[in-house]
């Protein structure tokens, strides 16, 4: 099973890499909607909430179809608001699926992230049930199909003493209580959605809930425009004494219904249980074997100055500051292993190199770069590509530009860049993933801040900035990165080769903290 999941992951990752490349080309990495799929779900939920409140004003449980028909007749508001509500409910499902696929492809489902994975699935399920109840509310031909099929599924379970499908056989009008319950569920479930969403992001620092404004307004605007120009019509009212003929089915919610109607409900439950079981088991199936599992970060207390930078930079709130117990005054960082995903961001944020996952701390990185220089011996006109192993840099070979891989560009200690420049390489090009594609959420942001904006553990001012270049390329954009490397190499050739120092001493003193506990950092 692990092997199967591994193959599925590789295939998904390859597919997404191609999509990323295409969307980055059209919208740039900043506005690539695939990178913002999770945030687009939140946008959808907000639009659903606002439009749903309006629709709720006109819905009558005593005359469900007639009231929705009345809404559809409101040319200036009801018609397009109802359409927007419906279209955006589809966007929510699609965006949630893309988001889940992305996390699956990146293996971000196990360990401390399992909570987010499982709560995300719960969120998707509740969203789905909410949409289902919404479609039943209309009580048109589609609602008839969905209600009857839902009843058929539940009737095979030994939980009801009487088949609930009898409510939809047409010997009596469907009771208003059914529509009341349905409406209640449709309105109450979003409260559950909000609660699960809170759990979903509870282990993240600086939760990112909305996409960049241009993307947000473009999405809302486009869906509104389609709702205005191409509103959904009304199917025929539900007629329980007739078999449903041609029905306008929402594929996002009812994709399985045409198949389900042809088989025994037990098969549908079996399929549901298999899919639910497999997706819930993904954190277990994706979790590496103990010997291959990346270990959580550790703090070497003798190096920790209590500057709090790792505490602020950790994207998963896995570091807290505790009073020192080694006789020195002040605070010391402490990693909570159950929350640490071993991203290594803290290694890049610690100027005195006192924290990080074993073998990936700043000191380990410096040792690695010395080995790299001994091994590759880049010349004064060569560019060293420091590449994120998740991005485009690993795999391809670049002429005159050896690659030094790092687990995440955000975990890169700036002393590595300093060391390379002072060792005399022509230039250092750090190839990270695009910011919103960072597997560790904020690695690229912190890297840029350390190199360009003097964020703690900054690249020292003595380093010639012309010799350091930051670039980002998604996994499928190796050719774009190659062009970037060529261009930078040409610049390096123009500016002349680097000058190496005989003896390189790296300063590991921590400067005065730029932020304090409780202050929100950007």
């Amino acid at each position: 099973m692990r092997r199967l999941i591994g193959v599925a992951r590789r295939l998904t990752r390859a597919g997404l890499a191609r999509l990323d490349r295409a969307f980055n080309g059209l919208y740039t990495a900043r506005f690539n909607p695939i990178y913002h799929s999770g945030a687009l779900v939140v946008v959808s939920l907000v639009v659903l909430l606002v439009s749903g409140l309006y629709l709720l004003l006109f819905y009558r449980i005593g005359a469900p179809y007639a009231s929705v028909e009345g809404l559809a007749d409101q040319a200036w508001a009801g018609r397009w608001i109802r359409s927007l509500h419906r279209y955006v409910s589809d966007l929510a499902i699609v965006a949630a699926l893309v988001h889940a696929l992305r996390m699956f492809a990146q293996g971000r489902s196990w360990g401390p992230r399992a909570l987010a994975w499982v709560s995300g699935l719960a969120l998707l399920f509740v969203l789905y049930v909410c949409g289902w109840t919404g479609y039943v509310m209309v009580w048109d031909a589609q609602a008839h199909v969905l209600a009857a099929e839902g009843a058929r599924l539940f009737d095979v379970l030994p939980i009801f003493s009487e088949p609930i499908g009898r409510a939809f056989v047409g010997d009596q009008p469907v009771p208003a209580a059914f529509f009341f319950l349905n409406l209640f569920a449709h309105v109450a479930l979003p409260v559950g959605v909000a609660l699960i969403l809170w759990i979903h992001v509870s282990r993240l620092a600086r939760t990112y809930l909305l996409p960049p404004r241009p993307l947000l307004w473009m999405t809302v605007g486009l869906f509104t425009a389609v709702a205005v120009l191409w509103p959904v019509g009304m199917d025929a009212p539900a007629d329980l004494r007739r078999l449903p003929g041609v029905v306008s089915l929402d594929i996002a919610y009812g994709f399985w219904v045409p198949w389900a109607r042809t088989v025994h409900p037990a098969w549908v439950w079996a399929a549901f249980l298999v899919v639910a079981g497999l997706t819930l088991a993904v954190p277990l199936l994706q979790r590496p074997r103990p010997e291959k599992r990346p270990p959580p970060s550790v703090v070497e207390e003798r190096f920790c100055t209590g500057c709090e930078q790792c505490y602020h930079d950790c994207p998963y709130e896995a570091i807290r500051m505790v009073p020192r117990t080694d006789g020195r005054e002040g605070w010391v960082a402490r990693v909570e292993p159950t929350k640490c995903v071993s991203c290594g961001i803290c290694a890049g944020s610690c100027a005195p190199m006192g924290v990080g996952p074993p073998e990936r701390t700043g000191r380990d990185q410096l040792a690695g770069v010395r080995d790299f220089l001994d091994r590759e011996r880049p010349g004064p006109e060569d560019v060293v590509v420091v590449g994120c192993t998740q991005g485009a840099a690993v795999g391809p070979r670049f002429a005159g530009a050896p690659v030094l891989p790092v687990s995440c560009a955000g975990s890169l200690h700036t002393s590595v860049l300093e060391y390379l420049v002072r060792a005399g390489v022509g230039g250092v090009l750090v190839a990270s993933c695009p910011s919103r594609d960072c597997w560790n959420r904020e690695g690229v942001i912190w890297l840029h801040a350390r190199v360009n904006d003097g964020r703690e553990a900054e690249l020292r001012s003595r380093v010639d900035r012309r010799r350091v270049r930051l670039a980002h390329a998604a996994e499928g954009e190796a050719d774009r990165l190659a062009a970037e490397v060529r261009s930078y190499r040409a610049e390096v050739l123009l500016m002349g080769g680097g000058e190496g120092e005989e003896r390189i001493e790296i300063d590991t003193l921590c400067e005065v903290p730029v932020v304090s506990i409780g202050e929100v950092t950007k």
């Binding site: 199909v145 306008s248 089915l249």
Partner: protein
Amino acid sequence: MNTARVIGGSALAVLLTGALSWTSRVPVTFTEPDQALLRLSWRLTDAVLESCRPPSEEELAKLPVHMRDPRGCTGRGASFVLRVLVDGTEVALDTVRAPGARADRPLTVLRDLPLAPGSYDVDVAFTAILPEGARLSPGVPPEVVWSGPVRLRGRDVALVGLAPSGRALELRRPGTAP
């Protein structure tokens, strides 16, 4: 951002939004015009089989005062046989048992029998299985039946249900929705 990218990006965005909106109303044919249905649906309450054996004086004396029933009757849900003939051909023959862990829940029937559009002579019989010495609780008929012609057009559902009297079945003809 060059012009081609703006045009391409806009076109793709409109296309994707349109496609997503279209998926919200994909026309799907659930039943063809050459399909119809004979549906049987009813609910029978209090269909209990009673067995009575007057207890002896000794047995009665062992019971708490409030539980001393001189008739000694016990009841359990009755089972019925459902038999459906269409133009003389048997299309359904089932034993319907009372649901519930103690078989004491109301007895319900919900059967869909697909038929092609056309006219049929239908006979439905729902007959209690009465073991020797047992009798149905008062007011519950030992058999409910319906026989008659049924005419079905494409996608019609003819519903056979329990008449308001509770002592016979009746046909609710297609197109006579409540």
